[in-house]
């Protein structure tokens, strides 16, 4: 692999691969430096499952239509307006032409998964999930002559005179230097660097779980920010959701979700309730609960349901703790038993008429005079066996990233950096200021990956 590359892509996920393929198709010689070993290649894209796509009529697996305005309205709702509308519209508008492009590059789609019917119009699901997409892209990239180095750790990009002059990385124990004509950074956020998280968030962050790749440590991001490359987003902002407390520290992915909170009572380690469990349907609340749990002592919560509710939510990856009495459940969970009984008794006493209970709609079955209240799905916890889960904060990604323009180009105070582009999670903060819209990360990665590849190739050729 001793040859001159026109373009080096740092990172090996969806955005990196879209950039590499696009550049290779434009005639550039491309090298991908992926930090992960081959089985873990693909960054957080491995854990994704769909692509949010605008369309004016039925398109591939997508039914009906999903207009630019409706898509943008959905985005504005979740971000609370914290977005760059120009870039957002660019991503949305381009998403429609991406879907056939993805198919041409080996991605296969499948009907909306069971339990996700509400997404059948807006989100195209990858057959086999994100790793299937990543595998297909690596195959296509290989066919296009793209070279890939796994376990290649980029340490430094040298910026000089408004351009990147060379890249230092380690590979197979050796320090290497490469000087491509153009560089595309697509190496994600920094959420797997627990020390950085702790600096930004406070020591509580040490108890967070990282839902995605352990290789997204933000090394390149930090290196570029130190050299004055413009950033977007705040370091203390991250997308975090409440997940099963028994999940692995890293890389637990989709299966660690727990959908039972709306049917439960949630307490902290002192067996006290702290928030309305039934405020809204779970997909609209799981991110709020990530922060709520983070604010509790030891950053942990405990979910308690009874036999009535066991089958109302998607199965969990690990079976729940199970006990015939609340005391026994409290013991299994390490909660003060008398306190828990008191909390549950108080909750049960505040429950009223439950005859209009409806698990999939806001049913208004609420508590009376309880603080905090439970405003929907409030049924007393009375039917043994009782079941318990622990909840922890699971970080999906961080928002701090590289600021880019509509050509995915990075800049510093001296103006645009001539040969540096960014795509994917590492620049997503430009569009997603806060919140998250299912499948939008893959849209940003695909759209801006292709733009970065096109621009870098045009520069290098």
């Amino acid at each position: 692999m001793h040859r001159d590359y026109d373009i080096t892509v740092i990172g090996g996920g969806n955005a990196a691969l879209c950039a590499a393929m696009t550049a290779a198709e434009a005639g550039a010689k491309v090298l991908i430096l992926e930090a992960a070993p081959k089985p873990y290649r693909g960054g957080n894209s491995r854990h994704t499952r769909n692509f949010r796509c605008m369309h004016t009529g039925p398109l591939g697996p997508l039914v009906d239509d999903y207009s630019e305005e409706e898509y943008l309205a959905d985005l504005l709702k979740v971000t609370g307006g914290k977005t760059n509308q120009h870039l957002a519209r660019l991503a949305i508008r381009t998403s429609e032409e991406c879907l056939p492009w993805m198919r041409d590059h080996g991605v296969r789609f499948q009907p909306s998964l069971s339990g996700t019917l509400s997404l059948g119009r807006t989100n195209a699901f990858f057959m086999g999930g994100g790793k299937g997409l990543v595998n297909a892209y690596y195959r296509s990239a290989e066919r296009l002559g793209v070279d890939v180095l796994y376990e290649a750790h980029v340490a430094h990009l040298e910026l000089d005179g408004g351009r990147v002059t060379h890249i230092d990385y380690t590979y197979e124990g050796r320090t290497c230097r490469i000087a491509p004509k153009a560089v595309i950074v697509a190496s994600g956020g920094f959420q797997a660097d627990m020390d950085w998280l702790a600096r930004a968030w406070g020591p509580a962050a040490q108890n967070f779980l990282i839902r995605g790749s352990p290789y997204n440590r933000g090394v390149v991001l930090a290196d570029l920010l130190e050299q004055g490359v413009h950033s977007v987003g705040e370091a203390d902002q991250c997308h975090a959701v409440a997940i099963d407390g028994r999940s692995p520290k890293f890389d637990g992915g989709i299966v660690t979700r727990l959908d039972c909170v709306p049917f439960s009572v949630v307490v902290n380690k002192n067996a006290e309730r702290f928030y309305d469990e039934g405020e809204d349907v779970w997909p609209k609340r799981y991110a709020i609960w990530g922060r709520l749990v983070a604010a509790q002592p030891d950053q942990i919560g405990y979910v308690i349901i009874d036999a009535k509710s066991l089958e109302l939510f998607m199965p969990s990856v690990f079976p729940p703790l199970k006990a015939d009495t609340l005391d026994d459940l409290a013991n299994q969970m390490g909660l003060p038993a008398d306190k828990l009984r008191k909390t549950i008794d108080g909750f049960n006493a505040a429950c009223g008429d439950t005859s209009t209970f409806h698990p999939t709609e806001l049913d208004g079955v609420a508590t009376n005079g309880l603080k905090p209240p439970k405003t929907n799905w409030a049924r007393p916890i009375t039917d043994p066996p009782f079941y318990g889960y622990s909840l922890r904060t699971g970080v999906t990604f961080t928002y701090l990233g590289l600021k880019v323009d509509e050509n995915a180009q990075c800049s510093s105070d001296q103006g645009p950096i001539q040969n540096l582009w960014a795509a994917g999670e590492t620049m997503a903060g430009s569009i997603l200021g806060q919140g998250y819209l299912a499948g939008f990360g893959m849209t940003i990665g695909t759209v801006f990956g292709r733009i970065a590849g096109r621009e870098a190739a045009a520069y290098a050729n």
């Binding site: 873990y40 069971s114 699901f125 086999g128 790793k131 199965p315």
Partner: protein, 352 residues
């Protein structure tokens, strides 16, 4: 059934059920996602629905080195073989042939030896063609029981299976739905129709599906040829040998070629495929069975080509001997999988 194998498959199925990314690949996942908890019979049924296409393995974000260590194709393959062995009748021989290619080779030697002995000591007083070497009556006396025994044995096994997976009263539409799946080998095409991930990691290819169909249709054609011959002999009073354009010859020749080529292709694929994504312990038995089936077909073709030469008696003994051993070990070899797969697909059609 081996509890540890079922338990490991259950652990993996529970993780799959919380993920569901693979829903579109094959029959296994929709069946899996219908359940919340998996009884032993559910796991057995899932195992027999799995065709080991490996699409789910390569798409899985939880395979080793991830701590969840998912390898569903392997886990199900192990449960599958264990189910065939556990439900087989009679028991003592059941646990040999799936695992050991050597046992299959030995059965072939025994089959051929018995046929030689039959030729030598029974022979034939008159008759044309092959019947000059071994009389038609002697052939029937040997092969009729050898054909009926495996059918009886398989019927007993499948009844045990049906009870274990909670099968209900059979309806014609269950049967036709399952046959349509088998006829197209849909579960080896994957939901996107690009095939399976078998001989070259995550590359999709139809090679295994096509090789399998060559074997299956080749076998069915050979079977049809023999059936046609039986009808012509007994009903139409037209004893062999038959002309080249006769039904038994046309079916037998095309079937024999398909079967020979299919077995060779399948063996080549199996040798290239990653063993650890299937039941590694059954690898020898599986390959031995493919070799035996290929030998049955190839020796049949040779017999046709050289039937009028001096080599005929020897070739006849080799062919009939291999057929004999193939029949006798059918309930205990990979051959049984076809019957179980069909049964599992019928059960799936009932539950859909």
């Amino acid at each position: 059934m081996q509890i540890d194998l079922v338990q490991e498959a259950r652990r993996q199925a529970e993780i799959c059920n919380a993920c569901r990314y693979c829903e579109g690949y094959c029959s296994v996942f929709p069946a899996l996602h219908r359940e919340r908890a998996f009884a032993d019979g559910d796991i057995t049924q899932l195992a027999n629905l799995c065709h080991n296409c490996r699409g789910c393995y390569y798409a899985c974000q939880y395979t080793a080195p991830h701590e969840f260590d998912l390898n569903l194709p392997k886990a199900l393959a192990e449960v599958r073989r264990d189910s065939w062995e556990s439900y087989a009748w009679p028991q003592p021989v059941a646990r040999r042939f799936h695992t050991y290619g050597g046992a299959i080779a030995l059965s072939l030697v025994v089959g051929i030896t018995l046929t030689f002995l039959a030729l030598r000591f029974i022979g034939s007083r008159d008759g044309n063609g092959f019947y000059a070497v071994l009389s038609h009556n002697a052939m029937v006396a040997i092969f009729l029981p050898a054909f009926l025994f495996p059918l009886v044995s398989l019927a007993k096994s499948l009844r045990r299976y049906w009870r274990a997976v909670g099968g209900q009263t059979l309806r014609f539409r269950n049967f036709s739905a399952a046959l349509s799946m088998v006829a197209q080998m849909k579960d080896l095409a994957a939901g996107h129709g690009d095939g399976c991930n078998y001989e070259d990691e995550d590359r999709f290819s139809h090679a295994r599906r096509y090789a399998h169909q060559a074997i299956m249709y080749g076998f069915l054609l050979c079977f049809a040829a023999t059936s046609a011959g039986t009808v012509m002999h007994y009903v139409l009073d037209m004893p062999a040998p038959y002309a080249i354009w006769s039904v038994p010859k046309v079916f037998g020749l095309t079937g024999g070629v398909l079967l020979t080529v299919g077995c060779g292709w399948m063996a080549a694929l199996k040798i290239r495929a990653e063993r650890n994504l299937g039941d590694a312990r059954a690898w020898g038995g599986d390959l031995g069975f493919i070799a035996l089936l290929g030998f049955v077909a190839f020796s049949g073709l040779m017999l046709y080509a050289l039937g009028s030469t001096a080599a005929m008696p020897v070739l006849l003994a080799l062919h009939l001997g291999s057929v004999l051993s193939f029949f006798l070990i059918t309930p205990y070899s990979k051959m049984a999988h076809g019957f179980y797969r069909l049964t599992a697909l019928i059960r799936e059609a009932q539950q859909k």
